[in-house]
Subunit: 391 residues, 2 copies
């Protein structure tokens, strides 16, 4: 198979075999996927042009037949080269009046019918890669024979456990982000703007082996920042600032998601205390993080060590993989049992009052990525220093 990252056919066949077990358990005759991550996962090919909303792409994964794809003609050469699927239908796109809809309807109606139900990406934490009017049209046109049901949860369950090959891509993405963090540590100084950090961090991550840098968040301010989910501003670093950078680098579609904090020259004791507290909360969670524990227990372990368990972020970690955030959430109400093969982040955060002259509320987060082995967990990211680094 072509493309930058060779994934053996056997791995796709295993994914489809596991999918069939879930389709059977969920009483579905097939799964239809349209999301970039799911096309990549099941078809071994997501269109590079997924950024354009003009053309949808479909992979159909039946319970009883071989999987196949229905795609815009433009993608045929690439998909034939890169995908393991041998059956690919296409239409001459753009054709807004029938953008693959009739082909998909015909294909679904022609499938062997056992349960009369087809899974689509409908539920929590999914996005459908086609216009909703077209989805509703498909649903209505098959309605006499087939019911459209949610297949999102079973996809999330399948994708949760990573193979060793998937893990190697995540390690590469993490290494690229680490390269950018190392470079940032050498470059950071008063006068550097968030905007410059944003662009050079991305460039460094790319030159360090990353393929895309879809997310780099930056916060800076005296004795702390107030958001770790925002883009850069024109603000320039000053002595006494804390800088927080969270990323956001992918290799073969797989994400790294961790952050680093540093103080420019000095910082107030409250910020040092916040950092130390978050780091210790992570240490405690690392001790219990293993298959069998519940996401909510991991949350509780960290929350018990923080001055305030409530943070606007709403959770203290999540799954990572072909999406930047995947289930489960490290959240008091998410009782998902952690399983071997999952990659999850530990990301405690809380607000504190800055002790310096500036005063006021600040926010801090720490984040690392972990792989679940059969009986424990392995830290994938280089562990952040135990004390707030001063640069």
């Amino acid at each position: 198979l072509g493309g930058l990252h060779a994934i053996p056919r056997s791995e796709y066949e295993q994914r489809c075999e596991r999918l069939r077990e879930l389709l059977l358990a969920c009483r579905l005759d097939a799964l239809v996927v349209t999301a970039e991550a799911n096309l990549r996962y099941f078809a071994g090919f997501a269109p590079h042009l997924y950024v354009s909303p003009t053309r949808p792409w479909f992979a159909v994964l039946p319970l009883a037949n071989e999987p196949f794809a229905i795609i815009p003609e433009m993608g045929l050469a690439d998909m034939r080269r890169e995908s393991w699927l041998s059956h690919i239908d296409s239409w001459a796109s753009p054709r807004p009046a029938d953008e693959g809809v009739s082909l998909l309807v015909e294909a679904l109606l022609a499938l062997p019918r056992r349960f009369g139900r087809i899974g689509f990406e409908l539920g929590p934490e999914t996005r459908l890669g086609m216009p909703i009017a077209d989805f509703l049209s498909v649903r209505d046109r098959v309605a006499g024979s087939l019911e459209a049901a949610d297949g999102g949860a079973l996809v999330q369950q399948l994708r949760g456990a990573k193979s060793s090959l998937e893990l190697s891509f995540m390690r590469s993405a993490i290494a690229a982000a680490q390269f950018a963090f190392d470079s940032l540590g050498k470059r950071v100084k008063p006068g550097l703007s968030e905007d410059e950090i944003y662009r050079t961090f991305q460039a460094d991550a790319l030159l360090g082996g990353g393929e895309r840098t879809p997310y780099v968040a930056i916060g800076s301010g005296p004795d702390g920042y107030d958001s770790i989910v925002r883009g850069p501003t024109t603000r320039r670093l000053l002595t006494g600032d804390i800088l927080g950078v969270d990323t956001g680098v992918t290799v073969a579609g797989y994400w790294a998601d961790f952050n680093r904090n540093m103080a420019i020259g000095r910082s107030c004791e409250e910020a040092h205390f916040a950092y130390r507290t978050l780091w210790r909360a992570q240490e405690a969670a690392m001790k219990i993080l293993r298959p069998g524990v519940r996401a909510s227990d991991v949350w509780r372990t960290m929350a018990d060590l923080l001055p305030s368990a409530s943070s606007s972020v709403g959770r203290m970690g999540h799954g990572v993989g072909l999406d930047y955030t995947e289930p489960p959430s490290i959240h008091p109400n998410d009782h998902t049992v952690i399983e071997a093969g999952m990659v999850v982040t530990l990301e405690p955060s809380f607000s504190y009052l800055a002790g310096g002259a500036s005063g006021g509320e600040r926010f801090m987060a720490l984040e690392e990525d972990f792989f679940m082995t059969d009986d424990g967990s392995v830290l994938l990211t280089g562990r952040a220093a135990a004390e707030l680094p001063i640069v």
Copy 2:
């Protein structure tokens, strides 16, 4: 207003004023937007964390009231700082069982009701930024009072005409991409891999002023490539290759979309002829490209000059702006009248038979970006050379 790019409040107010005229004409009481580009366009703020599918974001633009937003709590600090909207509701997310749905339903039911219809992003070339199950839940819960209708087309109409400020962002994105092309021209040589080109092109575009590089497509091969919509492979350039790179750089969310071709050392006459033919087709189209002409006429002008009017790409250009591709399509069946303020690409392409020892079918495309003035068009991209460049 904060953020990297100051857009005056008056511009947002003008957008909303024009939107109200369209809402009235389309008999809609409000428009609800969830797509990243539309949040940016109407609310002046798209969450940096839009890459995560965990949390949806809503902006509601009523016919009779002030616009407002309903967002996850995590985004409050950033949106209050960067958005011109003063009314922002939030919920503690993640909360998969009710991820903003109840708040949105209540807000919609509380709106002044004139037509009993609410516009959502449903139609061609839209993607909804929330799970479909949640959209269907909203639709069902307001169904006694409000009908969900398509508002996608009116958003596309509004966003079609770019302001001078929007145009300046597009010019910056184009300049950043041009910087990367210039740098590539100096760096390219036999032995360089597509993968290296992919990563250094992005890094150069970022250092040249780009903010994101969500799309860089690369094709290479002896006497031509076979796809201009694919990602990089490990293939290394050889003398006699043609390299084609298409991008894909954004500033303030606005895209540049143009490509460049170059031959490594030499190329066959058939490739030179293909390039020259495409370039001349663009020249002819440039002469008629102005407000009042139909997209299909622009297509016909180019098609008449090409040996084969049929290409798997299916169109010969499209709108560009906050999305990489926007309506209209330069397509025989798209009779949209080109209007002042639009930015469109001219992107003829066709397949040819390579004349070198390698033989076989190759593909070539040329693409430039144009802004529609009141009575003509202005080339935004530096015009590609009239003959296939040899490097």
